[in-house]
Structures are given as structure tokens and as C-alpha cells.
Amino acid sequence: MDYFLFLLITGVATGFVYALLALGFVVIYKATRVLNFAQGGLVMLGGYFCFTTLGQFGLHPLLAFSLAAIASITIAILIERYLLKPLIGKSLLSLVMVTIGLGSIIEGFAIALYGTDEQAMPEVLPEFAVSIGTVYIPSIYVWAIIISSILIVALFLFFKFSNLGIVMRAVSNNQPGALSMGIRVNHIFAISWILASLIALAGGFILGSISMMSPSLSIVIYPLFAAVIIGGLDSIPGALIGGLVIGVMQLLVAGYLGDLTGASFKTVFPFLILLLVLMIKPYGLFGTHEVERL
């Protein structure tokens, strides 16, 4: 029971981080119809930005996070301006492959700068002991739940009430309509990339604190695919539910079936769920069913 509780809570924490990162996918996909395969790379890069400003420069956390955010925003603008903008209107394969290529460029960049060794993220979050019954929960998992849920709620409020959020929803709903209402659609594209990169920064910091920082952190992207597909690519509640489900189930499966199925099952398992969902509901649980016209 204790073991189950431990797995459940760490799974929920992982699930919240997945949900947050899955939102990063959905934000970009809704605005630009690009599935960003480089999201894992952005997460890893965000983690390294925090690592550099906090650990290597030794700055005050607030200053460090602002610097890292500025770096992330710069990267996002550069990506949008020089990689995605020339490909607007090109085939799906081009859009997919440019983000896959971008992911491997980011990974090579991180290897060139930081090497392939694992490095520990400096601990800036205060430590405290949480125990439920006899189960001791490392404080980083609690922090992961707190930070992710705050950011998720903030994003929800942003999309629901803020002017920019409403404009972004308008663009994703009807691009030509938004254009004719005087909305600068290409600015919205850039803003959605900035939002996604900031989400990736937060996610990279949390994931880097939970495990260690290394360029292979970008593999976090693979369970996220399962999460967004289960929820439906263009649905924000779907991303949340998908992320939570995948996070909890991944840890439960790894915890209970790990001996039976081997460690690699943890990465494969979300994809089996993904295949199952695709077979039954091709557009995910909450995705828009696209009607095609000739």
C-alpha cells in the first residue's frame, strides 16, 4: 500500500509536469498546426539555461530565472522567424521534419556546450519533509505539483480572460477570419512559440531537478506524444488529462511490472496506449474531428 501510494504521488507529480509540457505542444499546434517535435529539445535547453544561470553564474534565483526566460524567448523568436516562417503553407512532412531536425540541432548544441555527462541542478527550492502515513515524499515532487498546477491555472486564465489569449483562440479557431479582423497572425505564431518555450523552461527546470541534467533529457518528449494524442492534439483539457493519465500509469507500470517487462517498457508503454486510442478514437478523446471537403 505504501509502495502504491508512493508511486501514485510521484506519478501524479510526473503527470502534472507532463500535462504542463503537453500544453506547450497544444499551444503551438492550435495556432500554427505544427506538431513541435523539438519540444523535448526546448525542455532540455530550458533546463540548461536554468543550470547555467543558477549554477554556473550563481545568480539570485529571480534574476537567474528572468535571464533564462529571456534566453528562451530569444531562441523561440529565432526558431519561429528563421525556421518556421519560410515553411508556412508547405507540406506536413516539411513541417514535421523541420522540427525533428531542430530537435537534433538543439541536442547537438547542448552536447557541444555542456557535454554528455549528467549534472545536478542547483537546489534553489526550499526543502521540506512531506510524509503521508509512513510514505516519505521528496519535496521536489511536491514542488513539481505546485509549480505545474500554478502555471496550468495561469495558462487557463490567460486563454480565458486576457486579450492576447482571446486573440490566440481566435487565430486557432479561424485563421482567415482573424486575419480579416486585423489580428496580426504572424505575431500570434511567434507568441505561441514564446509561450511554448517558457512552458518548456519551467518543465526543464522541474525535470532537471527531479532527475539530473543531461542532453538526453529531451527524450521526455516521447511520453508527451502519447499524452497529447490521447487528449486530442488541439484540446487543452485533453492535454491535461492525457498528461496525468500517462504520468500516473507510466510510474505504476514501471513500479509493478518493471521486473516482468524490463526497464525499456516504461518508454514503450505510453505508445501502446497511444495505438489503442488511435484505433478506437482516431482524433483522441477531446480532439476536433476534422471534416474534409473536396
Binding site: 506538431l35 528563421y82 525556421l83 519560410p86 515553411l87 508547405k90 507540406s91 506536413l92 512532412l93 516539411s94 514535421v96 521534419m97 523541420v98 525533428i100 531536425g101 531542430l102 530537435g103 537534433s104 540541432i105 538543439i106 541536442e107 547537438g108 548544441f109 547542448a110 552536447i111 557541444a112 556546450l113 555542456y114 557535454g115 554528455t116 542532453p215 516521447y222 506524444f225 494524442i229 492534439l233 517487462t261 524490463g262 525499456s264 517498457f265 518508454t267 514503450v268 505508445f271 501502446l272 497511444l274 495505438l275 488511435l278 484505433m279 482516431p282 482524433y283 474534409e292 473536396l294
Partner: protein, 364 residues
């Protein structure tokens, strides 16, 4: 070189679709094949190995081009499909003592069946969602099945294959020409690559190929004009996987030692990079892309190790920078081609050929 100032006149559809539109192409094809036949005498062992790898890559890239270039179904499972072919071929050779002319086709056929199975989602889904299904196939096969099914694949420890002799008979595969040397494997790989390229060109200009291209351009419209979309999509998966399986079988013989990590997602991405660099949907592009991507790491390593390393100051450890460059190489190539020349090496070749034809008089 023969000169056609007023273009090539074609009076019927058969000659328009012809494999060799002009006598020049027949002659230059024959010359090119003769060149490939005598090439091994002039190559070092390392270059010979790279040439074998290149021919194998040509088979795989041409196969992926059928699925992604002709039919427009994006697949990131090519690496795993190549793995299925490699393991089948290795199993047939080592455990069943089958000769090469049974084990390589067996690898192709089994991979085709696996391809049909993982292509089944394409009946209901397409585009990004289908990409996800093939990603699932890639992870399931390469990260799980190859690792866990130890009795067949040898797990992470790898699987050792001895190269059998060329004709061979079932039960005693060591009769005949020994392929132990890379120069013998070179001819096998070359012949298979040439057959694969001609097969792919012929598929592209047949009824099947036209159906594939119709599905790529508009699947609903092609269903309306009477193309059985489900059947042709699955056929495309089967054909493409067959090529991948043959490619895998040759790889198993070339490497003699196979293990799950060499069939990972990065292999699938490298094959996608080949067809993108070459030019999507063209067989010539796939061949050029496979050549380019095979020689790219060699060229970069050569320049790095022989020229750049001497110019750099030695007090800094450049190893990370080099491995970083190595990791981003394919990504950089994909991105640069997509943005600068979306039609790939094929277009560059056509531009070069067109300007070379009229060379001294550019406004002729």
C-alpha cells in the same frame, strides 16, 4: 554526348512513360554500371565498406520513398523495419542454416508482413496521427521487442551473423563464392541496389504507382475515381517494408553483429533525411540523398580530423564540440535543405544538367 536541340519527340504514351527516353540514357546507364563493377579494384578497405553501406542505404531510402514520397504516408518506423529484416535474415542464416537467396527474401517478406500490420492504422488515420502510429511501431519494435525477445534477437548483447557463401544450399550455406570479403559483398549489395532502384522506378510509372501518387495528392478524390485506398495504402506499406527488410538483411551481413540500438529512431530520421535531401517523391532523389547522407559523416570526420583539428588551439577539449556537431549533423542538413532547396539534390542535379546541356551559350 548526343544533342537534342528541339527536345525529344514522343508520339505515344508508352514512349512518354519509357524507362530510357533517349539512347544517351541507356548508354550512360551501362557505362555507370560498368564503372561500379570495376570500382572495387581501386578502393581501400574502408572506402569499400562505405560503398557497401551506401548501396544498402540506397535500398532503404528507395523503399521509404515509395511510402513517404509516392504515397505520402510519413513513416518514422523505417529503422525498426530494417531491424526486422536484419534479425530475420540473421536468424535464417545462423539458426536455420539457410543460404543467402532464401534468407534475404525471407527477411523482406516478413518485414512486409510486419509493415502491413503496423500500416493498419492508416486505414482510419492519416497525417500526424499516422506518424504517431509509426512512432509507436518504431518504439515497440526497436526498444521493446528486439531487446526482450532474447531467444531470437539475442537481446542487448547482440546477434552474431556469419556471412554465408553466395549460392549455397539449404542446410549447407557455405558452398559457393565466399562473401567473407567486403569486395564480394560489394557486388551483392550493388546488384540488389540496382534491382531495387529499377524496381522502384517501375513501380512509380505503373498503375500501382499512379494510384500511390493519387492517394498522396488527395486521398478522398482518389477514392472517388475508383482507387481502392485501403488496399493501395497497405500495398505501399508492404512494398516499402519489403525494401527495408532487404536493406536490413544486407546490413546484417555487412556488420556481422547486430544489436537493438543500431535500429533506433535516429536511423529512421537518417532515412527521412535521405529522401528529403534528395527530393521527396523522386527515385533519383532518394538515391542521391542516400549517397549524400552516407558520405556526409565520413567527409565531416575527414575534414575535422585532418584539417580543422590542427588549426584549433589544443588547450581546450574539442571532443564535446565534435560530438555535438556529429549529433546535429542530420538535423542541420534536413533544416538547411527544407529551407534553402525544398526539392533537394534532385532539383540541384536537374538545374546542373540543364545548364550543362547548353553550357557555353546560356541563352541558347
Amino acid at each position: 554526348m548526343a544533342f537534342y536541340p528541339s527536345g525529344i519527340f514522343k508520339v505515344d504514351y508508352a514512349s512518354d512513360e519509357g524507362l530510357f527516353p533517349t539512347p544517351v540514357i541507356i548508354r550512360s546507364s551501362i557505362l555507370f554500371i560498368i564503372f561500379l563493377l570495376i570500382l572495387p579494384w581501386f578502393l581501400s578497405n574502408h572506402m569499400l565498406y562505405i560503398m557497401v553501406t551506401m548501396f544498402i542505404a540506397v535500398v532503404g531510402a528507395v523503399g521509404l520513398n515509395i511510402l513517404t514520397g509516392f504515397t505520402g504516408q510519413i513513416s518514422v518506423a523505417q529503422g525498426a523495419f530494417i531491424g526486422v529484416g536484419a534479425y530475420t535474415c540473421a536468424y535464417f542464416t545462423q539458426n536455420l542454416a539457410m543460404p543467402i537467396w532464401i534468407s534475404i527474401p525471407a527477411g523482406g517478406i516478413l518485414t512486409a508482413l510486419v509493415g502491413i500490420f503496423f500500416g493498419l492504422p492508416s486505414i482510419r488515420i492519416k497525417g500526424l496521427y499516422l506518424l504517431m502510429a509509426t512512432l509507436a511501431a518504431q518504439f515497440f519494435l526497436a526498444d521493446y521487442l528486439f531487446v526482450r525477445w532474447k531467444s531470437v534477437t539475442g537481446g542487448v548483447g547482440g546477434f552474431h551473423v556469419n556471412r554465408p557463401a553466395f549460392p549455397g544450399i539449404p542446410g549447407n550455406p557455405n558452398l559457393g563464392i565466399k562473401l567473407y570479403d567486403d569486395s564480394h559483398l560489394y557486388y551483392l549489395a550493388m546488384v540488389v541496389a540496382v534491382i531495387a532502384v529499377f524496381a522502384a522506378i517501375n513501380i512509380g510509372r505503373s498503375k500501382t504507382g499512379r494510384a500511390f501518387k493519387a492517394i498522396r495528392d488527395r486521398d478522398i478524390a482518389s477514392a472517388l475515381i475508383g482507387i481502392d485506398v485501403v488496399r493501395y495504402k497497405l500495398m505501399s506499406f508492404a512494398l516499402s517494408s519489403f525494401f527495408a527488410g532487404v536493406c536490413g538483411g544486407l546490413l546484417a551481413y555487412s556488420w556481422k553483429e547486430i544489436s537493438p540500438p543500431v535500429f533506433g529512431l535516429d536511423v529512421s530520421i537518417a532515412y527521412l533525411a535521405m529522401i528529403i535531401c534528395g527530393g521527396i517523391g523522386s527515385v533519383r532523389g532518394a538515391v542521391l540523398g542516400a549517397i549524400f547522407i552516407t558520405f556526409l559523416p565520413e567527409g565531416i570526420m575527414f575534414i575535422m580530423n585532418n584539417i580543422v583539428i590542427d588549426l584549433l588551439p589544443s588547450w581546450y577539449n574539442w571532443g564535446y564540440l565534435f560530438s555535438g556537431l556529429h549529433a546535429m549533423m542530420y538535423g542541420l542538413v534536413i533544416v538547411l535543405f527544407l529551407i534553402l532547396e525544398p526539392e533537394g539534390l534532385n532539383k540541384i542535379w536537374i538545374n546542373f544538367r540543364n545548364s550543362a546541356k547548353i553550357w557555353p551559350f546560356p541563352y541558347y
